[in-house]
Symmetry: C2
Subunit: 386 residues, 2 copies
């Protein structure tokens, strides 16, 4: 346990450390799970989960039934997605499901690969994840705003968007040949107001962003069409012959604890509600970041509208998992500028836009986040007149 | 735990049940792990393994160091593969690593996809796993014996071979442009004599076949060339952003227990040595199967040479994970014939050969294996004169 502890919780970064906020590594949530103690512990004996199969009668034959139940239950508690009459396909993170979706939605016998588009700024991994195998089924076709071909396409709708946190809808005017994939991995109360249950044909989620358990690599898709769900299942069969049962069982336990924490909310132990906890931390961090940024004339942050969150029961604004920073005037390459202060971020150029933008993770451990604030505070900028 | 137990151990098949020996589901090994009891149990607290990263300093940044240690240790005990100066890349089963290997070995800027070949009979999933995304990097080119193009190629060398259990070497005469992938997932003492440590450029292994834990989806590659290991790591990053940490930690524990069982072997508790146990069961099963088959004039089984197994310290013959049955004379479609007796197997046509052959799993639970023997015994054949 001590070994595991050291493995799980990194040493405190020193004031000289480079801080890496390039990835969206969700280690912020460790402190919540520490406090939950044994509630969330799972035990797996040696004789368990030898078989490849989890549920031979189910379309997705490698889906653990307990995980399917907990996914449906959590969406019902949170109200962020419609689950009735949906097939659940489990994947090794939403990344694998993204590729399964492209495979399932591509016409198998088309003369040319189908175009895959997303509105810029788009998630930086989409182009590489689409094109790394030079598939004859699909190809990256860039910014959805610029797509004007009269050809079949798949539009990726990321909402809230990675990198900028805004709520989105499809932007390509559908001429009949278009299919949509909704990447909703950040559509959870700690990041954004839950305005209504999402109700799209193909929706992607993951524990990495909902509960912070990125290392378990468990994502899921909610899929309306049976044939699409079957083809996605086939993709995962060919790609990895199913998905880790150990991690599925662990994810089921974690989702169960999160749902239970929602149920007990409001009964005086509010701090135990996972999403309330997440909202409080994210709200604090965003307030602190905006405060630091506002005192310098170096960067701008997006502003998010107040919307009624049905989960929270109040008007809230988004507190995204990433800060989408834009540098002002003289800083042409914001990533390079911040690197000079030992802050690693991801340049806007990877998201299909300019180098004045960078994406900064807001989900790192407390110590790292405080170093970010300190370093931003210490920068030479034009001090704002108050 | 009771729930888990019911989940893990299937109900006894009835005499009317269809028995499915189409897959190589390694549930035979459950009985060993039952007997090990708590020795192999792992406990994962809720706060563990949130981060994507396992070992940031390592080339394979998502590889748990404990797993890497136990992989090296087990290969040293068993003597089946050279581990010195090798990079370890972990994957979601050897299936993902197979694809990572194709990606890493394909020239990135070739005008045409590289040819992927394997000597028939070859593993039935190779063609689909190579071609399902219609990659521009590689394409399935069929039986290695028939390959005579003067073009770059990757030869898959499966040894012992799936489906037929024979030891193999590369068959394409290398004209300089050839690369080899050694699929050694069955090169363990329960299946075949360990004659020397395999020492190839790129070797694939998996817990599914070594210890029977297929549901954990953990495989590993031993890779000589650093750039190849890097590209394989990149593939897994793009495909699934790493590999389940929970399953890696579980696999580490399982391999540790297996190594420990080897170390204690010969000290009077021989039955606890995992590989001795596996050898005993496989030897019994093969004797029983050969006995039943020899009494009918319906099928033939391959014969394997006696070789000195350095692990066992004696001359042994192979007892493969699959029986590669060939029907005699009048049975043209062996799969169909056996289906009539409620035995599901996989036809030779999927392995690049004729329908007189079928592959039959030898790794199912005891009850299922006995139903196989019963049904084979009850068949109407020409009774052999003794």
């Amino acid at each position: 346990a001590l070994e595991a502890k050291e493995n799980g919780i990194k040493k405190k970064p020193s004031s000289e450390s480079v801080i890496n906020l390039d990835h969206g590594d969700p280690t912020m949530f460790e402190s919540y799970w520490w406090r939950m103690g044994d509630k969330c512990t799972i035990t797996i004996p040696g004789w368990q989960s030898l078989s490849y199969f989890s549920d031979v009668g189910n379309l997705c034959w490698f889906l653990e039934p307990e995980l399917a139940n907990e996914i449906r239950r959590l969406h019902c508690f949170v109200g962020n997605a419609a689950v009735e009459n949906r097939h659940i396909v489990v994947g090794t993170g939403s990344t694998q499901l993204f590729q399964a979706a492209l495979y399932a939605l591509s016409p198998p016998d088309a003369p040319a690969p189908v175009n895959v588009v997303a509105a810029a700024p788009y998630y930086s991994s989409y182009p590489a994840m689409t094109d790394y195998l030079r598939s004859g089924l699909y190809r990256w076709a860039g910014d959805a705003y610029a797509f004007d071909k009269d050809e079949p396409y798949i539009e990726l709708v990321t909402s809230p968007n990675n990198p900028d946190g805004f709520t989105r809808e499809a932007v390509v005017l559908n001429r009949g040949g278009g299919k949509l994939v909704h990447d909703l991995v950040y559509y959870w109360p700690q990041y954004t107001p839950i305005t209504s249950p999402a109700d799209h044909d193909l929706m992607l989620f993951t524990v990495s962003k909902s509960t912070g358990h990125a290392g378990t690599r468990i994502g899921w898709a909610l899929v309306k069409d049976k044939e699409v769900a079957k083809k996605m299942t086939k993709f995962i069969e060919l790609n990895t012959i199913g998905v880790s049962k150990d991690s599925q069982l662990r994810a089921a336990k974690i989702l169960q604890v999160v749902s239970d924490s929602c149920r007990h909310s409001g009964s005086g132990c509010e701090s135990e509600n996972f999403f309330e906890y997440g909202r409080r931390i994210m709200t604090e961090r965003w307030e602190q970041l905006r405060d630091v940024i506002s005192h310098k004339d170096l960067f701008r942050l997006p502003e998010y509208p107040l919307e009624f969150c049905k989960f929270a029961g109040e008007f809230t604004e988004a507190h995204p998992a990433f800060a989408w920073l834009k540098s002002k005037e003289e800083i042409e390459d914001c990533e390079r500028f911040l690197k000079g202060y030992k802050i690693l971020t991801r340049s806007g150029k990877h998201f299909g836009v300019d180098t004045k933008h960078v994406r900064v993770s807001m989900l790192d451990r407390e110590d790292t986040f405080h170093l970010l604030l300190e370093r931003l505070s210490a920068m030479q900028g034009h001090e704002r007149e108050e």
